[in-house]
């Protein structure tokens, strides 16, 4: 598809009278093919494992899209209505303090991880230090009130779990922000994510708002779909014995739960319920699961790669993974008082 799409020229006249294929024609052809082949498609998906995977795929998409839409609306609103100088005035001048403020402000954006990616990108575009925007990116999905309340509901006898999750996630965000400040390089971030929109006035603001939100949605939705595909495939491929035979081996349990948090790509508002149902495991690996999941997972990696570029995601995601495990363990030892 790539070769067709990238070599086409839409204007037939420019192509010297030769007729070329446009993306619109490809889309129409695909739709017609799909409709004609509907029965074949349905039969092809009528295999139990594939049926389960396709349900999980659609479920992740349907569950995450509203948050992504919220995120692109916020991104559009920042682009159109919050001039860069206002953002600069709000955040502390010292970068290390700005990281702290940005991380803590994640408490107010009550969304899941998909919402924070377009917002963080727009913050960078509007001149906020990348370290601060990335701290916000990691904190927002994990420390907001909805996530904390659902964690409290999922672990009714363990209030320390809520505190440990809050501290572990916030620490992950701040540490990543400070790490970026020290070692991060601006050229890792794709040029398109750094582009600043000019400040505008009056009615034009609404145009900028709608156009920014639309463009962000197109950019991000495809990557969300990619992440959902990967997560659905793993959901079917990972044997459930992984969960139940790990109770005794704490190191392995922590690692497996961290990996599971990445591949399952659960919504940060629901992962506490999954963690609480894994009662065969001690609390510590389950806490790591809750700290790692909102910081980095398959769909988030796809979204980051699409928004900030692959060079960024390949460096940022693995470090986030390690930092989140360490912060989760530290918070667990501190607040849960050990493995439990």
């Amino acid at each position: 598809m790539k070769t067709v799409m990238e070599t086409v020229v839409d204007n037939p006249r420019r192509a010297g009278g030769r007729w070329r294929v446009t993306s619109m024609q490809v889309l129409c052809a695909l739709l017609v093919l799909a409709i004609v082949g509907q029965n074949w498609l349905r039969e092809a998906f009528d295999v139990p494992a594939l049926r389960t995977a396709s349900t999980v795929f659609v479920a992740i998409g349907v569950q995450a899209l509203p948050f992504l839409v919220l995120g692109v609306l916020l991104s559009g609103a920042i682009a159109a209505f919050v001039p860069a100088k206002v953002l600069r005035a709000v955040l502390p001048r010292r970068e290390s303090a700005a990281v702290g403020v940005a991380g803590a402000s994640g408490i107010v954006l009550a969304g899941c991880e998909c919402a924070s990616v377009p917002v963080a990108r727009r913050l960078i575009g509007q001149g906020v230090a990348p370290s601060a925007a990335l701290a916000f990116l990691l904190a927002a999905p994990a420390v907001n009130p909805i996530v904390l309340v659902s964690t409290a509901v999922a672990f009714p006898g363990e209030p320390a779990m809520v505190l440990a999750r809050f501290v572990g996630s916030l620490a992950t965000a701040l540490v990543m922000g400070w790490l970026w400040m020290r070692w991060g390089k601006l050229e890792w971030i794709a040029e398109r994510a750094l582009r600043r929109l000019p400040d505008v006035q009056g009615r034009r603001r609404w145009r900028v708002f709608a156009e920014t939100a639309r463009a962000d949605l197109v950019d991000a939705a495809g990557f969300l779909v990619l992440g959902a595909l990967v997560a659905a495939a793993f959901g079917v491929l990972i044997p459930s014995e992984w969960f139940s035979t790990l109770g005794e081996q704490i190191v392995l349990a922590v690692l497996v739960m961290a990996v599971l948090a990445v591949v399952l790509s659960l919504c940060s508002e629901a992962d506490a319920f999954v963690a609480s149902s894994l009662s065969a495991l001690p609390l510590l690996p389950r806490l790591v699961f809750l700290v790692v999941g909102p910081a980095i997972d398959a769909k988030l990696f796809a979204l980051q790669a699409g928004t900030f570029g692959r060079r960024f995601a390949l460096r940022f995601a693995p470090v986030t993974f390690v930092v989140a495990i360490v912060c989760g363990l530290a918070a667990g030892l501190l607040f849960l008082g050990g493995v439990r």
Binding site: E6, N11, R13, R14, S23, M24, V26, L27, Q38, F45, R51, T52, S54, T55, V56, F57, V58, A59, V62, Q63, L65, P66, L68, V69, A79, A154, F155, P156, R192, L197, R204, R207, V208, A210, E211, A213, R214, A215, L217, V218, A221, G222, V225, A228, L229, A231, A232, G235, V236, S240, S244, L264, S265, L266, C267, A270, F273, V274, S277, G306
Partner: protein
Amino acid sequence: MRRETQNILLLLLGGALLKIAFTGDYLRYVKGTQLPWIVAAGLVTVVLAAVAIATDVRSAARSGANDPATNDPATNDPATNDPATNDPAGTAGEPGADTGSDTEAEREHEHAHSARSAWLILAPVLAVLLVAPPALGADSVLRARQNFQPADTDFGPLPAGEVVPMTMTDFVTRAGWDETGALEGRTVRLTGFVVPTDDGPQLARMVIGCCAADAFALRTELSGGQADLLPADTWVVVTGRLVDSGDRHDRDYVPELDVRTLREIPQPDDPYET
């Protein structure tokens, strides 16, 4: 990818969200409280695409009336390559406006970075509109090995009555962890689907916290022979009594129900327990 193609994809995506919201199919994928979010997201997606299409058509008509050449330098700044930056007013020349200009070809090129990923939007659209994946069923149940311990094991007394209607969550957790023995000698009514296994038929129900990705299964064995020949994923209402069968841990906390009556039903609107 052309801007128009992107907009059509967004229209399809928003339309697919609205479709599952209005037909009630969304309950196969997420829990019921998500409905307003899905409707809002569908509407916003459709509106964003519609606004873009409307401004494009209007500006095309307007600049089509003028000399197209006067429009191009302003709308085709090579220093930037985002439509919003390019032209905040949304007056970018569109096909009708720029016959003979480079704008359209460049736009296709400019969006090369999103061209490939945006095609993926078609995947969930086709899945929802054409394949319509069913609610999770027997296949998911067989992937999970045991019933999980509930967060809350503090049980009150059962309500009075000859037959007690119960959720699978309630029944399985009480059978496994209720020390008061409230289920002894009581007839209960359960709703779920049939899962044939090597050890005989089971009744199961999926429980979701947020969406089908985090679903886990609750199940109970069905003894008494009435469910033996039913195919997988047949929805039934059964009444019966818990069989006390010794150490529950050895049986992965899967209780056994001695079936008194069994009736086939269509799949409920909401196939999951939350």
